[in-house]
């Protein structure tokens, strides 16, 4: 697609002199008005806070005002054993969920795609979408019950004769991170499998038919055709998963509050308490800046790995 083919604006001839062409700008004035609300809102609620956050990370802030303290906040950050622990937890959750997102939803999408009866295929899709009508915090609260001392998991374990294994899953610092990671098992419901499924639908039927003619087994078809062609979806989901875990902390916040001790603390939650409990805004901003840098690096790596959609701009 050539870059200007879609445009139909009446384009007044550019002035022969270099510089601002006022006639042209006046002609386009309505367009500038149309994008103005968005520009103002992005400036006020994203760009300004992002810059302000970066600056605040070099300050000490209390009720009397802000004071420049140089790299103090970052120094504290790198010497804070609890924070280092929380980054370790974050990496654990992120890696665990990357493994999850590249396996189970893909498996379910491929299985549904193999159902011959189309209406059965449709209904299976619905079945695996339905659970997302339960708000995230509500399902976290249900899982909190599952892990509690007299909760679902212990009841199930006792029922099958594994009573020895029962414990307070969220109160035990050795298992609490695994408990968090296993929340929402089997991790299929929702958007992830829909993306794989949409990707499978995009694979041309001829390719699939040809593979059947060639006598490829279902498993062979998966490894040789579907898996390679689903690589873009997989990369997208890995990126989204990583960013999701960098930025969200409802799960440890509602489940354990970061406990026991600091065994399940994550940086985002630490940042939240810097605002809400400690009023340590400079330190919170430093954590925010570090998280932002991590997200930025992940995003840039992703952009380098994939071709961007240069054709639409």
């Amino acid at each position: 697609m050539s870059s200007n083919s879609a445009f139909s604006g009446i384009l007044p001839k550019a002035g022969s002199r270099r510089g601002v062409n006022w006639a042209r700008l006046r002609h386009f004035a309505p367009l500038y008005l149309m994008v103005l609300p968005t520009v103002v809102m992005l400036l006020v609620f994203f760009y300004y806070p992002a810059i302000k956050g970066f600056l605040t990370s070099f300050q000490y802030v209390d009720v009397r005002g802000a004071q420049w303290v140089g790299l103090d906040n970052y120094e504290r950050l790198f010497n804070d054993v609890r924070l280092i622990q929380s980054f370790r937890n974050l990496i654990f959750l992120a890696v665990f969920n990357v493994v999850v997102v590249t396996t189970l939803p893909l498996l379910v999408a491929a299985l549904i795609f193999r159902v011959k009866n189309m209406s059965a295929q449709y209904w299976w899709r619905i079945v695996f979408v339905i659970p997302i009508v339960v708000p995230a915090v509500a399902s976290i609260l249900v899982w909190r019950w599952m892990y509690s001392a007299d909760g679902g998991l212990n009841i199930l374990l006792s029922a099958v004769g594994l009573g020895d294994l029962t414990r307070s899953w969220l109160g035990d610092r050795d298992v609490v991170m695994w408990a968090l990671a296993f929340t929402n098992f089997p991790w299929v419901a929702g958007i992830n499998f829909l993306i794989y499924y949409a990707g499978l639908q995009d694979i041309s039927q001829e390719v699939l038919d040809a593979s059947v003619v060639d006598g490829a087994t279902s498993l062979r078809r998966f490894y040789s055709i579907e898996l390679p062609l689903l690589r873009p979806q997989m990369r997208l989901l890995v990126l989204l998963t990583l960013i999701y875990w960098m930025r969200s902390f409802e799960l440890p916040m509602i489940m354990t509050n970061g406990g026991p001790g600091f065994a399940s603390m994550v940086p985002g939650l630490r940042m939240y308490y810097a605002i809400n409990r400690d009023f340590d805004l400079g330190y919170g901003s430093a954590i925010g800046t570090i998280l932002f840098l991590i997200v930025l690096v992940i995003t840039l790596l992703q952009l380098r790995l994939t071709r961007t959609r240069d054709d639409v701009i």
Partner: protein
């Protein structure tokens, strides 16, 4: 009997899918089952459903949750309407017309996608405090309304693929940019708009962290926030009451899903670009 044969061939698939679906639905089952138990029923049989179903739990939970429905309606209603309006205006301008600064604006919008909302949690909180908006609905509505980049991206892709001829004839008729948006862009964009709208409603309904930071006034709290407050607040509820509140928090999304199943799925898939 060709039908039966096809079904037979699929049978192993159905069984495996069923095996995965069961644990997927286990929490929903737990929620519904416990929500019908009074204190003694829970004590005797905490997991499996018991009779009679104790609706009193729902009365207690509803008395706590009822104000949140209105709050969510106002906050999400205004927020989503603003996103759809401003995002479609911006995307339409960027996708259909070549004007000075267009490219810069495009990147200006896209770059925001690299700023996850929680990363600017601290400064955004300071901003809301400075504006004097703490404990008002605006504290939630405004940042929501500003989260337009994802919607702009989806609208942009849609408007970009529209045919050129459509717009040329409108131009010959002397329509201005804004008229073209009203008479061409908006009607054509209706399906994609409802898909994005449904996705945004779902996304914002789920938001918990930001409201928990700026809405401490119980009268203003949103569904997700109040649900957590109910569970973890001072008066710890009976398990049945807590689960009933969880069910209450889901009902509007269940209804949304029922009336717009296809749109819902389309919106989720489109939304997956950002998630």
């Amino acid at each position: 009997m060709p039908k039966l044969k096809i079904f037979n061939r699929d049978l192993p698939l159905h069984l495996v899918l069923l095996l995965i679906a069961l644990p997927t639905f286990f929490p929903v089952f737990v929620m519904l089952s416990i929500s019908g138990k009074d204190f003694f029923q829970y004590g005797q049989q905490p997991l499996l459903p018991t009779l009679p179903f104790n609706f009193a739990n729902y009365e207690v939970a509803w008395s706590f949750m009822s104000s949140t429905y209105l709050n969510n309606t106002i906050i999400i209603g205004v927020g989503v309407a603003a996103i759809l309006l401003f995002a479609s205006l911006t995307a339409f301008s960027l996708a259909r017309f070549s004007f000075p600064g267009r490219k810069v604006l495009f990147y200006f919008v896209l770059a925001v996608l690299a700023i996850p909302s929680t990363v600017i949690l601290v400064p955004l909180f300071m901003l809301i405090v400075d504006f004097g908006l703490l404990n008002t609905r605006w504290a939630v509505i405004l940042p929501y309304a500003a989260s337009q980049s994802f919607a702009i991206l989806v609208f942009y892709t849609f408007f970009y693929t529209l045919s050129k001829e459509l717009f040329e004839s409108a131009q010959i008729d002397g329509a201005g940019f804004f008229q073209m948006y009203i008479h061409l862009g908006l009607p054509l964009a209706r399906p994609i708009m409802s898909a994005i709208g449904v996705f945004l409603i779902w996304l914002l309904w789920n938001d918990y962290i930001w409201p928990s930071l700026v809405l401490s006034d119980p009268e203003l709290q949103t569904v997700a926030l109040k649900l957590v407050v109910f569970y973890l607040g001072r008066g710890i509820p009976e398990p049945g009451q807590g689960m009933a509140a969880s069910v209450i928090s889901s009902i509007p999304l269940v209804l949304l899903f029922l009336v717009s199943m296809r749109t819902f799925i389309a919106g989720l898939t489109a939304g997956a670009i950002k998630g």
